[in-house]
Point group: C2
Chain length 283, copies 2
């Protein structure tokens, strides 16, 4: 089918949707990209940078050979309402949301089952910027793509979406939805919360602290540049797994603090830092 991919629709032409458009056009020479977005400015920017060829009404996106939902996942219920049964009747579609159990549950609640040609995806790519103007054609090159199969997933849909991402330069890995959400709670959602928490811990101190901000601080704090409403959305969608990750993290912090407090000679602290460093180096 990929050879016959004539057009692809993206719903949401922000950083992710516009990067998908640019990347897909580079990978498939004849491909036309349709964009749909509630915000006229988002569409205009995506058109201006050539990430989409055409702005289309929402109802038209289901006519594409491939449809990608790239808007914030809090709009999923609304989009399901708008697109309705067409998503259950042949169109090949995927999402690129950061949590998966929640998406699958909403889709299942809407249709009574998960459509066979819906392929939940999560590209391990992106950055703290937002909007089409931050889009990059190489955003997915060399990155991992987590594909989350479900019971009713059609083999052809799975194969086609896999081939699509591979053509964009991604390494496709499959992962169950529950596993995905647990893993991402630790590797993405928790680190974001930790960076946001540090910014809040510096409340009222900013001016005084500026002199002490070096490159390590800014590297650590990159995640706190991310869009709050997007991350509220992601965190709430993966609440259970994230709470588990936070609890585990908090007890690690307590161990470090106890080591710092209780051991005048730093042996316990050194042991904990040594373990952490070894683990980090292994990745």
């Amino acid at each position: 089918m990929l050879k016959n991919l004539r057009n692809m629709a993206v719903v949401g032409t922000g950083l992710m949707g516009a990067s998908l458009g640019l990347a897909a056009k580079r990978a498939f020479a004849q491909l036309r990209i349709w964009g749909a977005d509630d915000k006229p400015q988002a569409l205009e920017e995506a058109l201006r940078i050539g990430a989409i060829d055409e702005a289309v009404p929402m109802g038209k996106v289901v006519e594409a050979d491939l449809l990608c939902l790239a808007m914030p996942m809090r709009y999923l219920p609304k989009i399901l309402e708008q697109l309705g049964p067409a998503l259950n009747q042949g169109v090949l579609w995927m999402d690129v949301g950061s949590s998966k159990q929640n998406v699958l549950a909403q889709v299942k609640a809407f249709f009574g089952h998960v459509p066979a040609r819906f392929v939940p995806c999560h590209p391990m790519a992106g950055n703290e910027r937002t909007g089409a103007l931050a889009a990059r054609a190489d955003l997915f090159a060399g990155s991992k793509l987590l594909l989350v199969p479900h019971e009713g997933l059609a083999a052809q849909a799975r194969a086609e979406v896999t081939a699509f991402w591979q053509a964009l330069g991604s390494q496709v890995l499959e992962m169950e939805a529950k596993e995905h959400d647990e893993v991402l709670a630790f590797t993405s959602h928790l680190p974001h919360l930790l960076a946001f928490a540090l910014a809040n811990a510096l409340e009222g101190e900013s001016q005084r602290l500026c002199a002490g901000m070096g490159p390590g601080f800014f590297s650590f704090m990159r995640l706190a540049k991310s869009e709050p409403s997007l991350w509220e959305d992601i965190c709430m969608a993966n609440k259970e797994a994230l709470l588990g990750a936070m609890e585990r993290y908090q007890s690690e912090l307590c161990r470090l603090r106890a080591a710092l407090e209780e051991e005048p000679k730093g042996q316990a602290l050194l042991k904990l830092l040594g373990q952490a460093h070894q683990r980090r180096q292994a990745w």
Copy 2:
């Protein structure tokens, strides 16, 4: 005096000492760099990359026009023993350690006062690498240098060291020792511990989690690549301020967790993330 700077000695020819050598040679054409280090390999590497011109015995470093202590600060008592009274009799010297009250207390305990030509310094530069082979001549260019004056500091020593760092491209800011340690607890020591703690929270999960590690994760975790013994040293030296910072951070985490747990609609979480984001953007 800077015009007459003929030679500079560095004690400790790791990343920091060797970068200082390279940077100083670039800034002062005629300057010769002497290096002293307990580890023959460290000296050899520093010689090989041209960061020092000559390896000298420890006793000789006090004969330099400018002496910089760039070894891990846990060796300070031993170095004070070795160099002794010469540090109190004319030589212009500085350290580049990450905490300052502790250094001043040790120096004062040794001499009964802080020598007039000792200038405590802390360059806001460096990275997670170690050793002379990671040294860079431009490590200090465009970075901040925190200079920590003390009661008995000679005006000339202060001016000379300021001019030295400015010649290396640093912006020199002055800060009291207590203030310095409180600030750095938040902007450097705490973030390091937070990254180390996350690595430990992933214990036994590494393989499973690898698929979910994206660019944001690695940016956040850069600090956990830092050398454990160096950071044990730094954290223990700034224990009191760091414990205060940890306590404040832990209560921020509790607030975030409560917002995630208690508010089904995410309003409280959004508010906290929004505050954090705004603060981050202001820097």
